[in-house]
């Protein structure tokens, strides 16, 4: 039995009758009373994830222009050495996404718990999780985050103005028709197979040369989608949750990440394993990058690696409930059956094909501007390669598995992170893409050098359907993209739309 149990925020109605939430609010209040340069303050911890104080970001998201509450300080700044050591550490588009955020949660939880204990609260207090995939209305933000006052009449520190929701109307919920937990059906952390689209559940290998990696499947959806839908916002007022540099100012951030961490724990609990590669286990220090550091309440600095946080029970933590998706379909058997190459016996076998080599199959002609009305474009296919794909579909069998096909949006740049793109191929929705992180990735002096973000969607099912309806005999696929939130003159740029095939073995 672990000492600390993270429980569902919706327990006892999700309001302040849930004492986990009441103590969280009091802990946050105490941390917010501390100054920006105090390593134990709320503001310092938000900056550990990311901050828009120093860099030249738009007024809509700068810390100094965020509407109260929360009144966000921009001074006094800690010395540059402290900033360099702790701030802007968040790991995205990387296989370090799950372990870094786990360590981050443990550190802030320790800070909040120290405050809770000082205030006479329970010494085993743990961060609740917001399971937006739960039954009934649990996709809505727990009411404790929308109340303006605490039960004692104090202002509620869990309430923030700059939280606008998926429709920018202040109604905060997660649209679970777009944001889902399909990634829980994946079974490899890095790479791809029949049940796991590239680049894998936890993210792509982060090597010596970092850059524009793709987000892992857990990070893409649900993680990014929840950020975008909860934060919302416009080019005038950005929702805090919509941007990596403001997200951790909103107290709901940590409950969202508690749920993301719960999904990872649940995924491991089902027998899926984390990487055993030393370059993952030992963290970014193994590839010459900055190591992970967190300030702890006793004044020490916790330097941790992924191998030290890859098992929650070793950390003396557990979740009240690890249930997520219950049934994982036999994806390959279903696919072969659909293509007329299956048999009932296949469903009783544990068949699996691993993604081998990927190869560019086609692309559109040039960069595209995406405005409020969306865009339609043709993605031309190389005729020889398309013929190979078609022939493999025609002779599909257990011993000759057809390629998987992916659609990629490459070098996506812009300023409005608060967007969900609906991407369709030949009229069928291929998926939803959150632009969380777009602004930072488009900054020429940011970590991506202005190259933007890349996104990949598995469109194998759509291509199979086109083949079966004899509609794949074409030299191009029609791709349409519609943004959820592109007001006025705003636009984003899509550098290229590519289509890849991936061999299966």
């Amino acid at each position: 039995m672990a000492t600390y149990t993270r429980k569902n925020a919706w327990n006892n109605g999700g309001d302040f009758n849930n004492t986990d939430l009441l103590w969280y609010a009091k802990g946050v209040q105490a941390m917010q009373a501390k100054s920006l340069d105090d390593e134990n303050s709320w503001w310092f911890f938000a900056a550990i994830h990311g901050e828009y104080i120093n860099a030249g970001y738009p007024d809509s998201v700068k810390w100094g222009t965020i509407p109260a509450p929360t009144a966000v300080p921009t001074s006094p700044l800690p010395d540059s050495g402290t900033q360099k050591k702790y701030w802007n550490q968040c790991q995205h588009q990387s296989w370090f996404f799950p372990p870094w955020h786990r360590g981050y949660l443990i550190a802030i939880e320790a800070q909040v718990r120290a405050e809770v204990k000082n205030l006479g609260g329970p010494d085993d207090w743990a961060l609740p999780y917001w399971n937006y995939f739960g039954p009934d209305d649990q996709n809505k933000i727990p009411p404790a985050f929308t109340a303006t006052q605490l039960p004692d009449g104090d202002p509620n520190p869990l309430f923030v103005t700059a939280r606008y929701g998926p429709n920018n109307d202040g109604n905060i919920y997660v649209n679970t028709s777009q944001v889902n937990q399909k990634c829980q059906g994946n079974n490899i952390y890095t790479g791809s197979n029949s049940d796991t689209p590239a680049p894998g559940y936890g993210g792509p290998v982060t090597g010596f040369h970092h850059g524009q990696g793709d987000s892992g499947n857990l990070e893409s959806n649900p993680h990014n989608g929840v950020h975008t839908q909860v934060g919302g916002g416009t080019s005038v007022h950005g929702g805090l949750m919509s941007y990596p540099g403001t997200a951790a100012l909103d107290p709901i951030f940590y409950l969202h990440h508690s749920n993301i961490d719960r999904l990872w724990a649940s995924w491991n609990d089902k027998g899926n394993t984390n990487p055993t590669d030393n370059n993952w286990l030992k963290g970014p220090g193994a590839t010459g990058e900055q190591e992970f550091f967190m300030p702890m309440p006793d004044g020490t600095s916790w330097n941790f690696t992924p191998e030290e946080v890859d098992d929650m029970s070793d950390l003396d933590y557990q979740y009240e409930d690890l249930s997520t998706v219950t049934a994982v379909p036999n994806t390959l058997a279903m696919r072969l059956n659909k293509l007329g190459a299956g048999s009932p016996e296949l469903f009783n076998q544990n068949i699996m094909a691993r993604g081998k080599n990927s190869e560019l199959l086609g692309a559109n002609d040039g960069s595209l501007k995406l405005g409020g009305s969306g865009l339609n474009t043709k993605v031309k296919l190389d005729s020889g390669l398309k013929k190979n794909v078609t022939e493999k579909l025609m002779r599909a069998s257990v011993s000759d598995i057809p390629d998987k096909v992916y659609l990629e949006l490459k070098n996506v740049t812009g300023q409005l992170d608060a967007n969900m793109l609906t991407v369709s191929v030949n009229g069928t929705v291929a998926g939803y893409i959150s632009l969380f992180g777009l602004l930072g990735a488009s900054d020429k002096d940011g970590h991506h050098g202005g190259a933007g973000l890349n996104f990949t969607l598995d469109i194998t099912d759509i291509v199979d359907d086109l083949h079966l309806s004899n509609a794949l005999d074409t030299d191009a696929l029609d791709v349409s993209i519609f943004p959820s939130n592109m007001p006025g003159s705003e636009s984003i740029t899509i550098g290229r739309i590519n289509i890849f095939r991936e061999e299966q073995e």
């Binding site: 120093n54 860099a55 590239a198 680049p199 792509p204 290998v205 090597g207 010596f208 040369h209 970092h210 850059g211 524009q212 990696g213 793709d214 030393n278 030992k282 220090g285 193994a286 590839t287 010459g288 990058e289 081998k356 080599n357 990927s358 190869e359 560019l360 086609g362 692309a363 002609d365 040039g366 960069s367 031309k380 190389d382 390669l385 992916y406 990629e408 490459k410 070098n411 020429k444 002096d445 940011g446 970590h447 991506h448 050098g449 202005g450 190259a451 990949t456 550098g495 290229r496 590519n498 890849f500 991936e502």
Partner: protein
């Protein structure tokens, strides 16, 4: 989509392998011993004649030197080219990219070597050029402008994939990357040219290459005056050695 790990590793090994070969060629190329410093020609009467006779050879050696020092820096952009090109065009596009990149350095080299020869002609044997270049190199090394050039080299552009447009984009990508690379490293590359030929010349060249590769492997940073030591490669080598020794003795 990202390349498979195998493809990325192959690109790394090829770039490092060709670079190592170029180093060997440089070390055993007797022409290099005289031409790169230009000292042997300083006695000539006319600087124009000197330049006319010796510049092509010096530029050729310069190209060898650029390839030896810079190819490992091109691993990331070539990985980008591979992930953005049809398989049948990958090698071709990579070659075009390297050609464009080398052309920018070659033009820069011609300018640098001409000025070097002029200096040798006007103030033969003076250590003034070394001193001035050293001071400018140190100032440039810590400047925000250098950081800006380093940052821009991370912004890998979207590439066309069909026909002549793919060739054109690969070439422009090479020009562009070469420009950012020259911008960040021009003065530090010039410095070894001023040293007399010998062991120190090669050691400084190697050290400069080490720093430049390291700098390009670092993440982009906010452009500001800062100590920039260029030691990422050393950090990688240290960490990887420690890890492997740890495995052996576990």
């Amino acid at each position: 989509m990202q390349n498979s790990r195998l493809v990325d590793e192959k690109i790394s090994y090829w770039m490092i392998g060709i670079s190592a070969f170029m180093w060997i060629v440089l070390l055993f190329n007797p022409a290099m011993h005289h031409d790169m410093t230009g000292h042997d020609h300083s006695h000539m009467a006319s600087v124009a004649t000197t330049i006319q006779h010796t510049l092509p050879g010096m530029v050729w050696n310069w190209v060898l030197m650029v390839l030896a020092m810079m190819l490992p820096k091109l691993i990331a952009p070539i990985q980008h080219i591979y992930s953005s090109s049809f398989k049948k065009r990958q090698l071709r596009s990579a070659f075009i990219f390297i050609s464009g990149y080398t052309a920018v350095w070659t033009a820069t080299g011609a300018l640098m070597l001409t000025s070097l020869m002029l200096m040798n002609h006007l103030i033969p044997g003076s250590i003034l050029p070394i001193l001035i270049t050293g001071i400018v190199a140190i100032i440039w090394q810590f400047s925000p402008l250098k950081q800006r050039f380093l940052n821009r080299a991370h912004g890998h552009r979207a590439l066309s994939v069909f026909g002549g447009a793919a060739d054109r984009d690969a070439l422009f990508f090479g020009f562009e990357h070469g420009f950012w690379c020259v911008g960040s490293g021009w003065i530090i590359m010039f410095f070894p040219m001023l040293l007399p030929h010998g062991l120190w010349h090669y050691l400084v060249m190697f050290f400069v290459a080490f720093i430049m590769i390291s700098e390009h492997m670092e993440r982009p940073q906010i452009p500001e005056w800062r100590m920039r030591t260029g030691m990422k490669l050393l950090r990688i080598i240290t960490a990887q050695t420690k890890m492997r020794l740890g495995e052996v003795f576990r």
